[in-house]
């Protein structure tokens, strides 16, 4: 047992204090026929040297391919300071800050996070984070229903330009409560008022708008927000935080701004790591603060009038309200919020804008390079941020498999989620991709497509 400090002498003394003759006696309240004697299916213990070798081999097996996928998870430069600080034991191995006096570091950090993320989104208040950007859409839908008391329908419109993984996670989150997430088809690659007109006279609680949308295209957020408000719907914005370095924040969309803004902190210093852990963010206007799920930190004073931080408005939460809570959520992705807050501090307003601009420029270069490859066409000629759809002259899956053999992750195959787009591939280039990387991808793709022609 690698981490136990008890010596045989300790055990003897402790048992004597308890008044038991052997450790096994401490389990005498468990019915005998339920007890197990062995866990045959668990392998022998490995010491740190051996597990280190095993894990190094497995990580090396997966390699470090050249990545051109985004689709909700983005490869960005992560400053060394971010994880050097985040993995300090005092952050890494601390509990939820319920004992405020012993948790001022975590609490102040969350307060600083709340300040940064509300400013980025242009909203008034933020919680301390949710699980991820997908479940955040689900929680936002439930929150919109609580906040919009005049709407009785529990219907939320979700255009197909919203990340399909987010849509699926949201459906799983809200489905059992009778909430209806209705898909709005967007054949042109962005949401238009024409796609929404048929809902104009119906009771709909909210509209979800993703900016940039799943195809990387920029939605006409001002017009869409004003249309939704004019038709008595709340607006839920699902946004990429990097893009907010240069794009208009949801709080300023249209005349009144979005009502709720959510998304994923992953682009802010959180590694791709096969999908998690990430952190969902959720911000809103002050009038909705009591409808928020999850923890919120507030600044207050102590008995001596000195500044301090504490969890607040806890009467919304499960540990106080039990079955009447705004959500069952009991966690915030604290460590990832720590990383995101440190990242935003290092970037500042200008650094973040530069990252956003560099992503935008790199993606334009990528599209120019790919468009020169025979058999490749760029879809949706609209303003975009750092992703785009390209269409191939043949099925995508074998092309991706061939690129993978060349050490290139060539994009996300859209044909399962969007069969109407044909042989479509979603590609992304962030600030981490160089001109050489982009040329390497274009050359590899050309070679793959050429080889397939020869084989045919």
């Amino acid at each position: 047992m690698p981490f136990n400090p008890q010596t045989p002498g300790d055990v003897e003394q402790m048992l004597a204090t308890i008044g038991a003759s052997k450790v096994d006696d401490l389990f005498d309240e468990i019915p005998k026929d339920l007890r197990i004697e062995s866990l045959a299916g668990i392998p022998d213990a490995l010491n740190e040297m051996d597990i280190g070798k095993l894990m190094s081999a497995r990580a090396a097996q997966d390699g470090t391919p050249l990545n051109f996928i985004g689709a909700g998870a983005y490869e960005h430069h992560i400053p060394s300071a971010v994880w050097a600080l985040t993995t300090r034991g005092e952050f890494y191995s601390a509990y939820t800050p319920y004992q405020a006096e012993a948790s001022q570091g975590t609490l102040q950090l969350i307060y600083e996070y709340q300040t940064m993320i509300t400013s980025l989104t242009g909203m008034d208040v933020s919680n301390a984070s949710l699980y991820d950007g997908g479940s955040a859409v689900g929680e936002s839908a439930l929150m919109a229903i609580r906040a919009h008391r005049r709407s009785k329908s529990q219907r939320i419109l979700v255009p197909t330009t919203v990340n399909p993984f987010y849509r699926k996670a949201a459906v799983s989150t809200v489905g059992n409560q009778g909430v209806k997430l209705e898909e709005v088809p967007c054949p042109k690659g962005s949401l238009s008022i024409a796609d929404l007109e048929k809902y104009a006279d119906e009771d709909v609680t909210a509209l979800v708008i993703q900016q940039p949308n799943f195809f990387g295209v920029l939605e006409d957020v001002d017009a869409l927000t004003d249309w939704a408000h004019a038709h008595n719907m709340l607006v839920i914005a699902s946004v990429n935080p990097t893009s907010l370095g240069i794009l208009k924040p949801p709080g300023e969309w249209g005349t009144k701004g979005a009502d709720i803004a959510c998304g994923d902190c992953q682009p802010l210093g959180v590694p791709l790591s096969s999908g998690g852990p990430y952190a969902g963010f959720l911000t809103t206007k002050m009038e909705n603060v009591r409808q928020m799920p999850g923890r919120i930190v507030g600044r207050t004073v102590d008995m001596d009038g000195k500044q301090g931080f504490a969890l607040t408005l806890q009467a919304r939460e499960q540990h106080i309200r039990r079955g009447k809570a705004t959500s069952n959520i009991c966690t915030n992705q604290g460590l990832l919020v720590t990383a995101a807050t440190i990242y935003l501090s290092l970037m500042g307003p200008e650094g973040l804008a530069r990252v956003a601009n560099a992503c935008h420029a790199r993606t334009n270069e990528l599209l120019a390079a790919l468009a020169r490859v025979k058999g490749v066409k760029v879809a949706f000629d609209r303003p975009r941020f750092h992703e785009a759809v390209v269409q191939l002259d043949r099925p995508v899956a074998p092309v991706i498999a061939d690129l993978a053999r060349k050490g290139i992750v060539g994009g996300f195959d859209l044909s399962n989620d969007y069969p109407e787009l044909g042989n479509a591939l979603l590609v992304c280039a962030t600030e981490t991709r160089t001109r050489e990387d982009i040329q390497k991808y274009a050359d590899a793709l050309a070679e793959t497509l050429k080889a397939a022609v020869r084989a045919a």
Binding site: L272, S345, L346
Partner: protein
Amino acid sequence: MAMQKHPEKIIFEYSRPGRGAFGQWPTERHSPNEPASGIPANLLRKRKPLLPEVSELEVVRHFTKLSQLNFSIDTHFYPLGSCTMKYNPKACNQYAMLPGFLGRHPLAPESLGQGFLACMYELQEMLKEVTGMQGVALSPMAGAHGEFAGVAMIRAYHRARGDLARNEIIVPDAAHGTNPATAVMCGCVVREIPTKDDGDIDVEALRQVVGPNTAGIMLTNPSTCGVFERRIKEVAKIVHDAGGLLYYDGANLNAILGKVRPGDMGFDVIHMNLHKTFSTPHGGGGPGAGAVGVSQRLLPFMPIPVVGKEAGVGKDGDRYRWLTEKDLPQSIGRLSAFMGNAGVLIRAYIYMRMLGREGMHRVGEYATLNANYLMARLARAGFDPAYPGRRASHEFIITAKKQKDVLGVSAMDFAKRLLDYGFHAPTTYFPLLVPECLLIEPTETESKEALDGFVDAMIAILREAETQPDYVKTAPHTMTVRRLDDVRAARQLDLTWKPATSQGLRPTPENAVPS
């Protein structure tokens, strides 16, 4: 490690226009001069966001100082009942952060993820073995998220059988708040049953509430009272005979690891808090990981993705792949955008491999030994166990009702004063049914000396309570802040920093609460 004793400025108070961590920014080479060409002006940001403009050293120093305002497992004994604050081995973090794992995109081809997927598959298999369940899905991202998956599966199971009336979830009054909150989130009605004076649930009351509307029962065993539910087989029979299913809240799995398995007790579905039993970090409030295990009849309903193995395919041997909607058409669906808290799962995998077969048993044994020793010593020192006739599981409850009645010093006062002695407070006022409750869980990784030190502190505080109760009632005295004004925090909401408030705490009109 010394605690930082001085308050730390808000990071924005260090900010100066023109300052920055320039070495981290893309340069002109990466970023063209004309920003955002091709983006219409009405879609662009007009005002800069409020982010600090600070140097890299200022960032490092600020967040290092903030970290020093925290208690943590690495620095303090943390006997927080129900939370299993045990040592988080450094190897788990080190090897989860290898570039091959960190850099892998969740949607990268499976051919570029066989190393990662092998770890996930083996983790599923090991969790099946230690819990006695037939299938494991890893994607729920926390305990409450696992509860959600579990109750959603119970509902899906009844629905698939056309048994549509079953919408009641039975929950003991001592349960975690997440249990009833989860039931409601899954569209169920909560039926609460009482706990008896000996800490077991009231089986007769259970018989009265089960019926044709029963979807299931949610139980923690050992319970939040820190005792093993002795009539568990009878409970399982009553619920199953009524047509309901049993949900196991794995918050206390550490107590019985390698001793008894939820699957053998008759549970149909279970969540495991990998951040408790399998030692992944709590991270100041997350990320957790709430893997779920299921019995045979719930296998078709598991949340996706699950990792499957095709043995001996191709020249490389086994091949791992994601199972999705196509493989599990009755699945309750996807609970996260991608694969839950994958990096946390890798840490749990490393921990389990380091424990190995023998180590698993030792976890339950030493956690239980430490808890019973600490309970025996505190009882001798004059503190009252809430369930004196019972064995402690991995945790136990002390009730400070006597001290409150006689000395006017509450469980909260003991908790706060413990901070001055360098111990994190136990869980207080949970479960709700025990008055002046201190729920104490030492975990297996603490030494006898650490436990003795805690007892010494409790004895010293008891003496203080007798001689200078007001000093205890106003503790802590040595932290950077004293007790905080929670009422003010809720009434005068100050949730974001504004330049106008940097010199003090003047509330401004825009952060006043609407009534």
